[in-house]
């Protein structure tokens, strides 16, 4: 049996064979103390819960800590003065009671499953499977292309799309912007980025403009300069590049 499980944020949780969680521990306290589940003496049960956590070395387990905190909160709420009129008061224990009952119900099902499973475990099915029969054991498959495409569709709906698809809504036009940049620097000795990409441009235009500038700088047709961080980029025609 797995007594040690790595439970996410809780770190290393020692799953004691007798308690499979805080609700289990709480239920066993309620049974030991013979108290009415609909009228839990929260202060007493809370104190015992914390004591058992310490003695079982469950202090580090987030799930048990969370339950201890919940019990303390309910205890505090019970101490608050109740407003006049019975119907206005909502028992702070109600939610906990509901969860405990639900959990206990499930434990009963576990008992049933345990009994059934144990009974089945004690019987063996025929273990020897003739090799020659193995391939024929598979029943024919009922599967149409429509079903496969349906599955493709489900995968598509659930797959996380790479971010690039969400950012860019229009085709990037690097070649087009190369022409724009060439036109701009043909007119001006020094141009600014906003001359190529006017303010208010769409993201695809900004990206296309930037890629066009980088591409032309690589080809040596222009030089890019940024005087200070975050300053507007200066675009300067490169005469040597043009000559080459």
């Amino acid at each position: 049996m797995d007594h040690v499980t790595n439970a996410g944020d809780a770190g290393f949780v020692v799953d004691l064979p007798h308690f499979s969680g805080p609700l289990d521990l709480l239920l066993s306290l309620i049974r030991d103390e013979k108290v009415d589940i609909y009228d839990i003496p929260v202060a007493r049960i809370c104190q015992q819960f914390i004591e058992r956590m310490h003695s079982l070395k469950l202090n580090e387990a987030a799930e048990y800590l969370e339950m201890a905190a919940r019990l303390l909160r309910i205890k505090a709420q019970m101490l608050l003065p109740r407003p006049d009129g019975e119907e206005a008061w909502e028992d702070p224990r109600a939610e906990l009671v509901r969860r405990l009952l639900e959990y206990q119900q499930m434990r009963e099902v576990v008992d049933v499953l345990e009994r059934l499973g144990e009974d089945r475990r004690n019987r063996f099915a025929r273990a020897y499977v003739p090799v020659a029969l193995t391939p024929a054991v598979q029943a024919p498959l009922s599967l149409s292309l429509a079903e496969l495409l349906g599955a493709v569709d489900r995968v598509l709906r659930h797959v996380q799309r790479p971010d690039v698809h969400d950012v860019i809504s229009r085709p990037i036009d690097v070649d087009g912007f190369i022409e724009v940049v060439r036109a701009v620097i043909a007119l001006r000795a020094i141009a600014r980025f906003r001359d190529v990409v006017p303010p208010g441009s769409e993201p695809w235009e900004v990206l296309s403009g930037l890629l066009a500038l980088l591409e032309l700088a690589r080809r040596g047709e222009l030089r890019l300069r940024q005087p200070r961080p975050f300053a507007s980029v200066e675009i300067k025609r490169e005469f040597a590049g043009e000559a080459a």
Partner: protein
């Protein structure tokens, strides 16, 4: 034994899995459903009356020949076959919740059990006892789990309805708790 009973015996013997009645009927196109049932009864009676070490069991979604429990210990001691490992209490609790609430997502299971169930779900899935049956429409579209045929087989259930209904359990959620309506509806679905 009549010839149909023998044919069924051969088929059941050759299969490591339970075989549903209608698939057994496919063995002999001439045989009526009543004849198949009669042959199954004859086979079962034969194993019982003749004192065989095996018996015919209707469980796990179909018919299966299984050894009787009294021989298990000797067989395991002689290491001729091994019983499957027992499931941990954590795994059983998680299975119980999935069996009754399927389709159900991980968060809802954790709400009921009060602990993280990620690793338990993984191991139940690896053992083929549960499978992903869909996705919730809730935020993040979490996966929904349900039990499998192997689950029925492992607990020798003919179908899920053989599990006790929640209102048959000793602890019934009483009217005091808020989700009465939902609970009633759920009872209905299971029964």
């Amino acid at each position: 034994m009549n010839s149909l009973a023998k044919l069924l015996e051969a088929a059941l013997f050759a299969s490591p899995r339970p075989i549903p009645t209608d698939e057994l009927a496919a063995l002999d196109a001439e045989a009526s459903p009543a004849a198949v049932q009669a042959a199954l009864d004859e086979l079962r009676e034969h194993y019982d009356v003749d004192g065989h070490a095996v018996e015919l069991v209707d469980a796990g979604g179909g018919w299966q020949i299984l050894t009787r429990p009294e021989y298990t210990e000797a067989i395991e001691r002689a290491q001729m076959a091994l019983r499957p490992r027992r499931l941990s209490p954590a795994a059983l609790e998680t299975l119980a919740i999935i069996a009754y609430r399927q389709p159900i997502g991980r968060a809802d299971i954790e709400e009921i059990r009060g602990v993280d169930v990620g690793s338990v779900i993984k191991s139940l899935h690896e053992r083929g006892l549960i499978d992903v049956v869909g996705r919730s429409e809730a935020l993040g579209r979490p996966l929904l789990y349900g039990t499998t045929g192997a689950f029925l087989e492992q607990f020798a259930l003919r179908h899920l309805e053989e599990l006790p209904r929640t209102d048959e359990l000793a602890v019934a959620l009483r009217a005091r708790e808020p989700e009465t309506l939902e609970q009633v509806i759920h009872h209905d679905e299971v029964s």
